[in-house]
Symmetry: C2
């Protein structure tokens, strides 16, 4: 194959999203010949020693990077967070049980919908009336709740929990869009789940970090594939796993480790967020949408004072190689997703584009 | 990137399994730069026009290749056939309904286990007492059954339905290991489902071809992700689809089309099966395991008269570049999976290895 020549775009897409360039390069080679064995990563048996070694390393890296304590298991599943919405409730929420949910956006609303099929849902707090522009705080968390469910980062509305509620109730968290972006105290959580396609890997797998005791006894009869214990017992290989998605996730976790681990990612993410939010706070044309103290360090959602300039700005971004800037249809405006693999030069490029646009259109 | 030099192995693995070399090459390039857009297929948004076009083409190719009639939809889901075992029954089998199941191996047994969670299961026929070495025939199919479930090809035991039961009852078929290997009359089926990782693509997606009327009214309240109608309404994009697995499946379907479609695959598969089964029928050392009239054209399961030679033969295969020949642990012996992408030269290589082994060890 000839060397592929291309101009690399700065990808600000909310997800599937940017991954490290060296991960793309290694994955591309593995699609032709995996580790020199004369077969593609796409054709090897998931029961081969080569893939078992990939799965083992993926689990081990996730445990190391997130300091997962004993008593927890790391699973690589399919069906994304959308399947976890129902799987968590199906396993844990009995007909007469109550779970607490914090509603901070579309994803938590979807999780609430599925939980209502199984038991009582107490919406402890919601920022819906504020169009999800902040993270609720200071609500009561009754001690009898089976669990407290929250979405740690809201891709659409650009808000993020910077502190998790202090409670003895086990927390179930959808961390799809900020896992591996910062350190977390895993032992506060009963289940952490996350679709891979932001900071962890490509679309097609979902990590679940489960407290084994918390999930050990499903409250009802659940189908084999929807029982966490099935996947714990079989090391995420009860059925054919999504081989390539797990492999690329493993490569991405290797990259996180090589680059200083999650604490270094957190620092770099802070620097990137500071760069763009500082610009927004000093702009006369653009402004951030979310309440300042709840701003996401992953998804910077911003608006423009003169909405007639929206398409013009998107055109300038596209020509400057800044892709995926258009805001979600339910919010409008713009969104710059600055996940782990986006380096500060990419963010600087976008800020430069915004500055120049403001200078010429402001 | 330098040209990757390697000796290509003949991959007889049961699955994940061999795919066409040109698919690996195109997929490898797309991981670096998809269609020259400066981004990897792994990082583009599933809502991008580029991926929408991939999904549209995948659906369209599946419909064309299998002559899917009006009234059916083609879905690309996650969770594999193992999730379809429960999803089909959850949607279609009411508490007081009865479904018929034909038990022809481990996979149908697993489907039966999940269906029993939802309604009555009538095992119409089973080859379990024969260690699944044949496909049952001539059993009654009561007209009141909600559906008849069968596994069209049995990877582990090397048997295959060469004719499907004639009945007015809608058939639900797990075609994981022989979809796209032969023409089928889709209108006999209520649902056809298949994990991709044999003839269709890499592990990580599952095709479901559903009769829309048949699945229109789930018999109970089902979670959003487990309702076929969710995925029909959203064109398999209710949640983030497994982008890369769908893309590689689309490339593989393009290859099938370019190479004469499913009818040509069927002819080539017949030739490959004839080659190896004819050798087995004339061998004094090796012999086929399944009853002749039910032999699989996908998975050739064979045994050796002198079992002490098992490891020696596996060693010879490995040195000859024939990979994945070891039989499933529940059957022993050997298995050569000869899916669409295995060409007859690969099968000839294996037959030559067997002949030479027999000459020197027979």
């Amino acid at each position: 194959m000839e060397k592929v020549e291309f101009v690399k775009v700065n990808n600000f897409s909310a997800g599937p999203a940017i991954l490290p360039q060296e991960v793309f390069e290694e994955a591309s080679e593995a699609v032709l010949d995996f580790q020199g064995i004369g077969m593609s990563i796409l054709e090897i048996s998931h029961r081969s020693k080569e893939f078992q070694s990939v799965m083992d390393e993926a689990v081990s890296l996730a445990k190391e990077l997130l300091a997962v304590p004993n008593g927890y298991e790391v699973l690589f599943l399919q069906g994304g967070a959308s399947t976890q919405f129902l799987m968590a409730a199906m396993n844990l929420l009995g007909d007469n049980d109550t779970a607490g949910y914090v509603e901070t956006g579309s994803w938590s609303a979807k999780a609430i919908k599925e939980a209502k099929l199984y038991g009582h849902v107490n919406i402890l707090a919601s920022s819906k009336d504020d169009e999800y522009a902040h993270i609720p705080k200071g609500y009561d968390i009754p001690g009898h709740l089976k669990y407290l469910h929250l979405t740690s980062n809201n891709t659409i509305f650009g808000t993020q929990f910077h502190e998790f509620p202090k409670t003895a109730v086990p927390i179930i968290a959808d961390m799809s869009s900020d896992i591996f972006s910062r350190t977390i105290d895993v032992d506060k959580f009963g289940i952490i789940y996350a679709g891979a396609q932001k900071n962890m890997g490509p679309a097609g797998t979902c990590i679940a970090i489960v407290n084994k005791e918390f999930v050990a006894h499903p409250v009802r009869t659940v189908p084999t594939m929807l029982d966490y214990n099935t996947h714990i017992a079989k090391g995420s290989m009860f059925n054919t796993p999504p081989v390539f998605a797990v492999y690329v996730s493993m490569l991405t976790m290797r990259w996180v480790k090589k680059n200083g681990g999650v604490s270094h990612m957190a620092k770099a993410n802070q620097d990137k967020a500071d760069l763009i939010y500082n610009y927004l706070d000093n702009s006369n044309l653009f402004y951030g949408r979310a309440r300042k103290e709840d701003r996401s360090k992953m998804n910077v959602v911003f608006l423009i004072k003169n909405q007639d300039l929206t398409d013009s700005f998107l055109g300038v971004c596209a020509r400057a190689g800044c892709s995926g800037i258009k805001g979600h249809r339910s919010v409008g405006g713009f969104r710059a997703s600055i996940y782990n693999a986006m380096n500060i030069d990419g963010v600087q490029t976008l800020v430069d584009v915004m500055s120049e646009f403001e200078r010429t259109h402001g």
